[in-house]
Amino acid sequence: MLIRVKQKSTPAPSEIASEAEYQNRRSFIRSMGFVGASTLLGGTACAQENPPETRSLGPLLKSQYSTDQTVNSYADVTQYNNFYEFGTGKEDPYEYSGQFKPLPWSVRIEGAADITGDFSYEDIIQSHALEERIYRMRCVEAWSMVIPWVGIPLADVLKRFKPTSNAKYVSFETVYRPSQMPGQRRPILDWPYREGLTIEEAMNPLTILAVGVFGKSLPNQNGAPLRLVVPWKYGFKSIKSINKIGFTETQPATTWNDAGAYEYGFYANVNPEVDHPRWSQARERRIGGGLFDAKQPTLMFNGYADEVAGLYSGLDLQRNF
């Protein structure tokens, strides 16, 4: 059993944006008399007044895969998120995830593996050493950040369940809890959120199961308590708050692909040469740069080509976007 040690020294997100600033911003919007309809329809969620504390994760291994690029601020990483389960606005996950209870947590392992069943968060994580992985994160919306994740290689976790030779793909599912996730009360996407990888992608050493950021456990808005991070793919592949992992023989259905196959492929590898039908993917905006910061060129596989290009040799990436 994991004993949750709350450390008083751990800064809460509310310490980055003070309560006063936060309240002031809402009243600004209210004073203008306009609140987005999506917010209004979001239901009864109350704003995050006392965000749940995150806990320190202790000593972390360094990784050769970490980038030395400048890391984004804690506020950037925790207050500018796409996590439609908490609303479709970028600030919604920060504001409306306060009711979510990430622990206790259990993950169902199913499909083509010798060991399947329900496992607690601790069962999954405990026997592994936590690593810090500072990765670039490139959103399909053409913005990016540099985020210091804490996690474990997904391969190390998956191997413990002894996948069989039939396991060609790995599927993932986000928890469905409309009472705690106000965004799920609207049928924006076909809940629960689903993602998938080929077994080779899942076993690649870059792919991690993340449990933290900035040396602390994941805040709710970042996918607590357990999420995927696949740094060479667009951010939507890195599914959050995972409570189901399956080994499958056929390609699993994935949420954004279902929502618009023409715009979001199964692979969703970062590729500056394959544009989104409605916008260019050639350049990206690095968050945190200020008003006059120019966009920067997007790199093939988000700059991780050396590690992953081999996974796709012979595959037509224009077609399999």
Binding site: A17, E21, Y22, N24, R25, F28, M32, G36, A37, S38, L41, N72, S73, A75, D76, Q79, Y80, Y84, T88, K90, E91, E141, W143, I188, L189, A259, G260, D275, R278, W279, S280, R283, R285, I287, G288, G290, L291, F292, D293, A294, K295
Partner: protein, 202 residues
């Protein structure tokens, strides 16, 4: 009815008030940019500025299109006197939105701008809408009104296709959650619909 304002009241009281109100969104944005008011522009300030100016452009287009039906509703012509100013504010916010995209988002990278205008349907629509609004802003003066005579009213009907393009531009730009965009489209549809309805009845 005593509620009908006279020419002087419109000129010296109502117009200045409307002017100040219409400047308010821009003023508040400036205060946010310089961190005097609110909590800044957030992690993606360029997106914030661009979206903010764009949505206010659309709002002022809708507000100026609401003036004529409002005058019909109260059966008094005086609100028409506010229409030019509101229309010019609509143009100003749309132009600032376009400039924010040009300068902040694209950093004046001409080749990227041209390829975006050609290749991205929603940007094509937005650019087209702004081009339609330019002659309206230019000919908004009394002098042009006299010079163009009857053609002036015809020319200014370009605001209808421009408004449709702007709504479409907004709708197409949204990744998935289109409900806000659809609400604006519904307001525009109502404002255009009431005109068609009125014409049929005449």
């Amino acid at each position: 009815m005593t509620l009908v304002p006279g020419k002087q009241q419109i000129r010296f009281i109502i117009k200045p008030i409307v002017f100040v109100l219409a400047m308010l969104p821009l003023a508040l944005l400036c205060l946010r940019i310089f961190n005097i008011y609110g909590s800044g522009l957030g992690p993606n300030p360029i997106e914030t500025v661009q979206d903010y100016l764009g949505i206010w452009g659309l709002r002022f287009i809708l507000i100026s299109l609401a003036i004529t039906p409002a005058a019909w509703l109260i059966k008094k012509p005086w609100p028409i006197r506010l229409r030019r100013m509101l229309g010019l504010f609509a143009f100003t916010y749309c132009l600032l939105h376009f400039l924010a995209w040009l300068i902040l988002d694209q950093s004046l990278d001409i080749s990227a701008i041209i390829s975006d205008v050609i290749k991205r349907p929603f940007i094509t629509l937005g650019t087209l809408a702004l081009l339609l609004l330019i002659p309206l802003a230019v000919t908004s003066t009394k002098g042009w009104q006299i010079r163009l005579g009857a053609r002036w009213a015809n020319l200014h009907r370009l605001v209808y296709p421009a408004a449709i393009l702007i709504c479409w531009h907004y709708y197409w730009q949204v990744k998935l959650d289109t409900i806000d965009a659809l609400l604006y489209c519904a307001v525009l549809a109502a404002l255009l619909g009431v005109r068609l309805w009125k014409r049929r009845r005449l």
